[in-house]
């Protein structure tokens, strides 16, 4: 597979702007969280995606509504990029009745079945076999749906990851494994947990394509994901993508955590310089795809949506006490 077939010039302008918008929506949405979190009304542990937006955007821009996404504790980016309803996400973070999970899930458990967001799990690695199961279902139902699991470098430590790759490869299932290697699981660096730094190479062992991608370059991610998705859709089996990227905020919560000392300010700085959004924005402007004014307009539109979502979420009613006992199971 050639990876460099994607350039600014051979991707439709529409797609370029879509990618940009996808990333910016995630960024601005989470910046809103950062702003309001101290009000202590958003009572849910938030794992922010700021810095990693290119991965969700680059992958999801290749998907149809019917395709499946299974996400993790760090769910907002995947949910929004796949087209999940923003208002209901905000309401969910506020634990409101109108939330996408009706207030039962919180930040780590978001869903939008109509948009193909099948749910997110807070058990590291737990979503990977689920995504393989959905891919199996797609084949058995003779649909062309592709299934995606997003997961971190931490999930690579888990046996479930290996069991999933093995089965998907064995059966040639339409699934794309998207590892977002941000180098840390909580505060533990990859080198403290893995004797190597070549996650993507495991693909070869399971006889499937594996790629390492600059996860801060949305076009690269888009290009590799395009091939992986189309390969899956054509019935040629799974792909493993390792997208190297970086989270800017602490593992959980809205703050910067440099003071904890497990990572260096310089490391963070160097990644912030490679901000996926700014970089892409600069290229788009430099190469004349967008004007600075368009960007401002897009930003304003997105901020308005976010403000609406905020008002909707914050203004929605809390669930009633008696909803506690609902949704446990169906007793016909």
């Amino acid at each position: 597979m050639r990876r460099d077939t994607i350039t600014l010039t051979n991707v439709p302008k529409r797609t370029l702007i879509h990618l940009y918008k996808l990333m910016l929506r995630i960024r601005r949405f989470e910046e809103k969280i950062v702003n309001v979190y101290c009000d202590q009304d958003m009572k849910t542990p938030v794992h922010l995606y700021i810095g990693q937006e290119a991965v969700a955007a680059g992958v999801c821009a290749n998907l149809c509504k019917e395709d499946y996404v299974f996400s993790t504790h760090r769910s907002h980016g995947h949910y929004l990029a796949k087209g999940g309803d923003m208002k209901r996400l905000m309401a969910e973070l506020y634990g409101r009745k109108t939330g996408c999970s009706r207030g039962k899930g919180g930040s780590m458990h978001v869903v939008d079945p109509e948009a193909g967001v099948c749910g997110s799990t807070a058990i590291v690695g737990g979503n990977i076999p689920l995504s393989v199961g959905a891919a199996l279902s797609s084949v058995m139902q003779k649909r062309k749906q592709v299934s995606i699991s997003f997961f971190g470098d931490g999930a690579v430590d888990e046996g479930a990851f290996h069991e999933s790759l093995n089965f998907a490869a064995l059966k040639g299932l339409p699934v794309v494994f998207v590892c977002e290697n941000n180098f840390y699981a909580t505060h533990s660096h990859q080198s403290k947990r893995q004797p190597h730094d070549h996650i993507y190479k495991l693909a070869k062992h399971y006889v499937m394509p594996g790629f390492r991608v600059d996860g801060n370059d949305v076009l690269r991610v888009f290009g590799v994901a395009r091939q992986a998705v189309s390969r899956a859709r054509r019935g040629n089996g799974p792909t493993l993508m390792e997208c190297r990227t970086y989270r800017w905020k602490g593992h959980v919560g809205p703050e910067c955590d440099i003071k904890l000392g497990y990572r260096m300010q310089e490391e963070l700085n160097s990644w912030m310089k490679r901000c996926p959004i700014k970089r892409f924005e600069k290229r788009l402007v430099n190469e004349g795809v967008m004007k600075k004014t368009t960007i401002d307009k897009i930003t304003r539109e997105i901020d308005l949506q976010i403000h609406d979502a905020y008002l909707f979420g914050k203004g929605s009613p809390h669930p009633d006490e008696n909803e506690l006992l609902e949704d446990v199971w169906n007793l016909n």
Partner: protein, 348 residues
Amino acid sequence: MPWTKLQADAIDHEDYLPRHDGDRRLTYREAIREAQYQALEIDPRVFILGEGVDDPGGVFGTTLDLHKKYGRERIIDLPLAENGFTGIAIGAAIAGMRPILVHMRMDFLLLSMDQIVNHASKWRYMFGGRQKVPVTIRAIIGRGWGSAAQHSQSLHGLFMHVPGLKLVMPSSAYDVKGLLLSSIADEDPVMFVEHRWLFDQGDHVPEEMYTIPMGKGRVVRKGTDVTVLAISHMVPEALKASKALEEKHRISCEIIDPRTLKPLDEKIIINSVRKTGRLVISDCGWNTGGVSGVLASLIAEKAFSHLKAPIRRVCLPDTPTPAAPALEDAFYPSARDIINAARLVMRS
């Protein structure tokens, strides 16, 4: 949906129902196979997966040759990866399929606890009812021939504690067919526990498909002096015991089989205890922390004033399963233990 009418027609045994005595008899094993065969036939979303499901042995005969009819695309042998493949079954269910996952021995299912407890059982609730996981997990339990600590466990007790998961333990061929179909039709994850010592037991089993409602127990035998609440393989043991008790000790047992433990038919149990005032609970799991304790505490709470004597339980002692035949004999409860317990509750 092919299941709607079947579920609506679910056979609801109001109180005591004489056992069907049609002339079509199947063993428990055959009844399981037939239920799956028919489910595969009427619903393309149904499929079976498990280690060895297409094996010459066919999981003790319960999946025998199904792959010949439905192909290995729907009868899927699996790598030994219990955690992963349970997740795969759940993922398929989330995406609209109706998987039947088979565990030849329940012991191995401890490797899938995360997927069962953290995922399947919570997926509906966590997403406010917007998702569902219609997966049936067949878990086979057994005993004997020195299978020892890791190949013999009846772990259903653990699953009593897991909200969101249904728990079904049929004791007859008739029930196993109806309840397996109910479980496949069900929208929620069902832990379906089968005892290998029941596999050869025969019963009248109608050919047509039928379902039995979840949460409906069965009065297996009417009686007046003592209620014996028995689970799975302990039901035939209780029946044996009841005969001896009647004949030798003039004690009349009423035997109740809850059939589904979650949801549980509290009414049928309470009604019986109200009548007899005495209760023996017999389960094929460990004594402490399992099903028998749940049932005992339920009665102690809800039928306290009707109890004339302390409840007695006949279960496994709280030890891992020993291998030696001499120790197995001491380990496993039987009709004799039920007889003793019944006599004791009659005395106090």
